[in-house]
Symmetry: C2
Subunit: 334 residues, 2 copies
């Protein structure tokens, strides 16, 4: 807490607290000379208004919240950099909350935000989100923009990438490289993000006359050791010759398991992952990725949120779809 109060300023200046308060808020009721005296002393003594009090008055915190599953994920850290870029230009602070994909944590954050701590929210929802009540209450009460990990049946401003098309292209890339038995590491299965990626994969198989084999698809969640054993079982028993990892977090376990099982990448198994990993070009072998335009997603999401805050005309169920890029590297024999 700042030590200097309005009362103390008033005492020092021989003015009433009400006069000091009005001077600080640049009221027309106070003379220019008095305002200057107040401002000079406030500056000298490093006076800081109490934000709780001033929030009550202005109903503005000049703060945005970003709610994401994990900060230890290059996609999200880059998206946040984009969000901060726009926010800084408009004088907003950015608070970051991570849910660790836990929908209870997510609900608790949202409950605390609903009561006026921030002016707007950017959210990439928890993949554990089954109960959507807290997301709905957020959307009804405060300006919100969804990015990347979104829900299907909620009408809101959403920024996503072309998940279906990207998975389709990834699958065709593996087929072109000679793969015939392509495994799919399915994650985010509660979210449209995850479902679109799975559809892109199955449709690309069908278009290329490859029969869909449900045993080549394994569902992963945030249980790391369970994911590890499921991937290991897939690679050991079903012996796919290609793998699509639908999230970044599953690709390092793949590399570790290949080492363990003496599977050579890309000779025995070609791997491609949705990923913004900075180390992708330096892995052994370098990793072919579907890279999302994370920074641009952040820029776009924050720009739309600020428009909502400033009551500018925004289609409140606008969906912006940005394009990901296939970057071919050694893990698919390129």
């Amino acid at each position: 807490m700042s030590n200097i109060t309005i009362k103390e300023l008033a005492l020092e200046l021989n003015l009433s607290a009400a006069t000091v308060s009005r001077a600080l808020s640049d009221s027309y009721e106070i003379s220019a000379a008095t305002k200057q005296r107040v401002w000079d002393l406030a500056k000298k003594l490093n006076y800081e208004p109490n934000p709780s009090a001033s929030t009550l008055r202005s109903h503005k915190s000049k703060t945005l919240a970003v709610i994401i599953p994990e900060i230890a994920n290059n996609f999200f850290s880059q998206a946040i950099n984009g969000i901060e870029e726009v926010s800084r230009q408009h004088g907003y602070h950015v608070l970051i909350y991570q849910t660790h994909d836990n929908s209870e944590t997510e609900a608790a954050f949202i409950k605390s935000l609903l009561s006026g701590r921030v002016d707007g929210v950017l959210i990439s929802v928890s993949s554990e989100t089954n109960n959507k009540d807290h997301i709905n209450s957020l959307d009804k009460n405060i300006p919100v923009v969804f990015f990347d990990r979104t829900l299907e049946d909620i009408a809101a401003v959403k920024i996503t990438t072309n998940d279906y098309e990207s998975a389709y292209i990834a699958t065709e890339h593996l087929i072109e490289r000679g793969c015939k038995k392509i495994g799919f590491l399915f994650a985010l299965n509660n979210l449209s993000t995850g479902k679109s990626r799975l559809s892109g994969y199955t449709d690309a198989l069908a278009s290329n006359n490859i029969t869909y084999d449900k045993n080549q698809v394994i569902t992963c969640d945030k249980n790391e050791s369970q994911n590890h054993s499921r991937i290991k079982k897939l690679l050991a028993k079903n012996k796919p010759d290609g793998i699509i990892s639908s999230i970044e977090e599953l690709v390092l376990p793949c590399y570790a398991i290949c080492e363990e099982l003496n599977i050579s990448i890309p000779d025995d198994l070609k791997i491609i992952s949705f990923s913004n990993l900075k180390t992708a070009p330096f892995l052994n072998p370098s990793l072919t990725t579907i890279t999302q335009p994370a920074f641009e997603i952040g820029i776009t999401a924050a720009t739309l949120l600020l428009k909502l805050l400033n009551k500018k005309q925004v289609d409140t169920d606008e969906i912006v779809v940005l394009k990901s890029t296939l970057i071919k590297r050694a893990s698919t024999g390129c």
Copy 2:
């Protein structure tokens, strides 16, 4: 903002707003039956107290701020996980702010925090921090714990690692692996963290009768392209046979430059880095690291901050030093 106000609850229950307010705060002045009626309706209508108002009353936000240079750094994301672990157990929210090593951004965050938004602060200071006024004002006004990147001449609770000893061990490891011309990528040069790492390196050279060559030390900051050209010049002209990277961010540029200049790791150049990179074992070649106990640092820092908040006995200039680990991998020929 929640739509339900105390006034509306009062109207619905045919009580005065003051009675509802007292009932909500469990006042002894209100009968148990009335309190129950108020609580039942508040729950039914999803009433949320305004946090600005309740902050003003209680002077507690039940929120901690973590100020760090970058979230896209595995050390910091793991440390935050530790901080969140402890905070969650004690019912605190954690807000994350990133400064991007910009001391103006850091000062602006601190100014906004000083006015009562949070109960306590955990900070790893910006390496650009020359002017320490804002850090001093933080320390005087709100409970604060410094972790990892700290300032020398401020008496406060600090959690660090054995930076001097770690750099000493790293240097001796390179000498044992046959290196005679060891380069040092010097970062955080304004902070005790960076200075200790440099001293560990120079002292280890001296103990092993290797003359210190100032041309083998290059100073890096947050200017990525400048760092890249400095490292390239070092590798091309001074041809070190070993490199110690004092921060994680400089090691991928090293790998890229070695590829560019056809320098083989570890044959021509052995590399070791201070790093918590998850991908370190999967790089080509796998990277020898000095790995800091990031999660434990977070746990320890948050535990000490909560003690400060609860006015428990804490030595207010306590310095806790945790130990880093040398993990030997292929980049140093192991």
